[in-house]
Amino acid sequence: MRSTAIFGGSYISKFATSALTIAEMEARKIRHDSTELWMRSIQPALWLLIFGEVFNTIRGLAPGGIPYIEFIAPGVLAQSVLFISIFYGILIVWERDFGILTKLLSTPSPRSSIVVGKALAAGVRGIFQAIVIFALALIIGVNLRLDPLDVTGVFIVVVLFAMCFASLSMVLASLLKTRDRMMGIGQAITMPLFFASNAIYPVTLMPIWLQYVAVVNPLSYVVDAMRSMLLTGDYAKLPVDIFALLLSTLVMVSIASIALKRLIE
């Protein structure tokens, strides 16, 4: 309470200023040098161009008679955002190893605003990635719905998703504390998450035990939400998907805010 009194202005607007400033920092870095993000686009591009094209020849793989390449485009998009955000903690550890993180936390900005800002920064990277994949998908003729509201919705989902997993990554970073271990755990998490989701094949094709995994896999909800906006236009499940995503993002960001102090101690 006292803090608002001393600084004037509302706590919320200061919180937002700080979080957006951290995200701005990321955007500026991307503007200076985006090589890394372009390199990271290669893998999803291959999924789309090779995997997608090859399996596109098999009819009936995707439900509802939609071509397979359309089916996996949202899956590939979600996967690439997952990769970017799950490794985001490595950047945090790197900033910790220098004094950058310490310095950020020595400003009057609330610790949680720095965490939210970092999560948003992962969202900024996610959006960059999403644009590249979008463009690529359109170039190779994937038939996506381009309603402005839907596209906006997809970007919001991308940002939330990136925030959720970047926060998870920051929590992991606070536990593991070294870059090598973060690399290891990142590798260990991403592939199972990817394969145990509806990203590249429908859940109905999975063995029963894997279907259960897919139900609790957040990636499934993200892909689901994206598919409904980009392909089917069927919004029946959208509120549930978004709610699940919002909730897990909120929980993850909160845990990360608490966990972050372990990283600088």
Partner: protein
């Protein structure tokens, strides 16, 4: 008013490691205060508690009367902090680094540009404002870090080992900036260092810290004086013994004495005398004169001044190894050699 007040502060990591062990000190407004100690002394831990980055295990710390535990944000608002490790972002330009921090310090939009420009000018970085920081030299990065702390117009500037990894030239330059800030803007400075020269050059008062404890606090001059005066080692030439004594070759020089205003002889071994005096530099010509008038030829004179090293030897744990009152080891040595005629 005290800028910083630390009272009975302790910090224990885990069960065992007492990084800071019941220390107390105050930093007055406007002074340059140094925490001097070797690696692992607990300096960084102390700084991190003051900057509210970590919580103390026990004890009270306040900055301008604000308790760090109760008002962490307000405390951080009046501090400028330069951490031990590099804390500027290499992937941003110098200008951007300052811009981001002025925003995180909630510097108003109208003042922002002016302050950034001032800080860059002040630290002589205007020319490189738009260059990526990863291409900067170590000294320039340190200057940028200070500039970064300045956009906030801090009342206290806290620098953790600011000269670590800098070449002697950049080190001296940085000292000058710190002194200038302190003089021109009355910024209170708290600095940690393991470099005796740095503490001596910059600090009005220092606290000597080791193994989590502060053993002594004082101004460098007084501390050095407390170790003992300056010591002159005078070597006389044996083959120029005055004729009156040449009949007794065994007791070559005999027992010598000097007038008290020149100092006092604390030891004599054969032809080598150790003389303690208040001001060695001024005593040298007079002592040489004195002996030469008596007919001795002075072969060499060397001056040992106590340094903070000696102070450290005396008050730090390592004082156990101290040899004699005058701390013979590790003293700054200036030899003035003059051969007899």
């Amino acid at each position: 008013m005290n800028a910083i007040e630390v009272s009975e502060l302790s910090k224990t990591y885990g069960q065992e490691i007492k990084a800071v062990d019941n220390i107390s000190f105050t930093v007055d407004e406007g002074e340059v205060f140094g925490l001097l100690g070797p690696n692992g002394a607990g300096k960084t831990t102390t700084i991190k508690i003051i900057t509210t980055l970590i919580k103390p295990s026990s004890g009270l710390v306040s900055v301008f009367g604000l308790d760090v535990l109760r008002y962490p944000q307000e405390v951080r608002q009046c501090l400028g902090y330069v951490p031990q490790a590099v804390s500027v972002d290499g992937d941003l330009s110098a200008y951007e680094n300052l811009l981001i921090f002025s925003k995180l310090f909630y510097v108003g939009k109208r003042e922002r540009d002016e302050r950034i420009k001032f800080a860059l000018d002040y630290m002589d970085l205007s020319q490189r404002a738009d260059d990526l920081v990863k291409h900067f030299s170590g000294g320039m990065m340190r200057r940028l870090e200070i500039a970064q702390a300045l956009v906030n117009r801090p009342r206290v500037l806290i620098l953790d080992e600011p000269s670590i990894g800098l070449d002697p030239g950049s080190k001296k330059q940085m000292w000058k900036y710190i002194q200038k800030l302190n003089e021109e803007f009355k910024v209170t400075v708290l600095i940690t260092t393991h470099d005796m020269m740095e503490a001596d050059e910059l600090c009005e008062r220092i606290a000597i810290m080791e193994s989590g404890k502060i053993s002594v606090i004082g101004n460098p001059r007084d501390l050095k004086r407390s170790v003992g005066g300056e010591i002159l080692t005078v070597k006389l030439s044996t083959n120029s013994v005055p004729s009156s004594l040449s009949a007794r070759p065994t007791a070559v020089l005999g027992s010598l004495s000097i007038p008290p205003e020149l100092g006092s002889i604390v030891s004599q071994e054969e032809d080598t005398l150790k003389i303690v005096t208040e001001n060695g530099e001024r005593a040298i010509p007079r002592i040489m004169d004195y002996f030469e008038r008596l007919g001795y030829a002075v072969e060499s004179v060397s001056l040992n001044r106590p340094t903070l090293d000696d102070v450290f030897m005396k008050y730090g744990k390592t004082s156990l190894e101290r040899v004699g009152v005058y701390g013979e080891a590790r003293t700054q040595r200036r030899a003035i050699v003059r051969h007899s005629r």
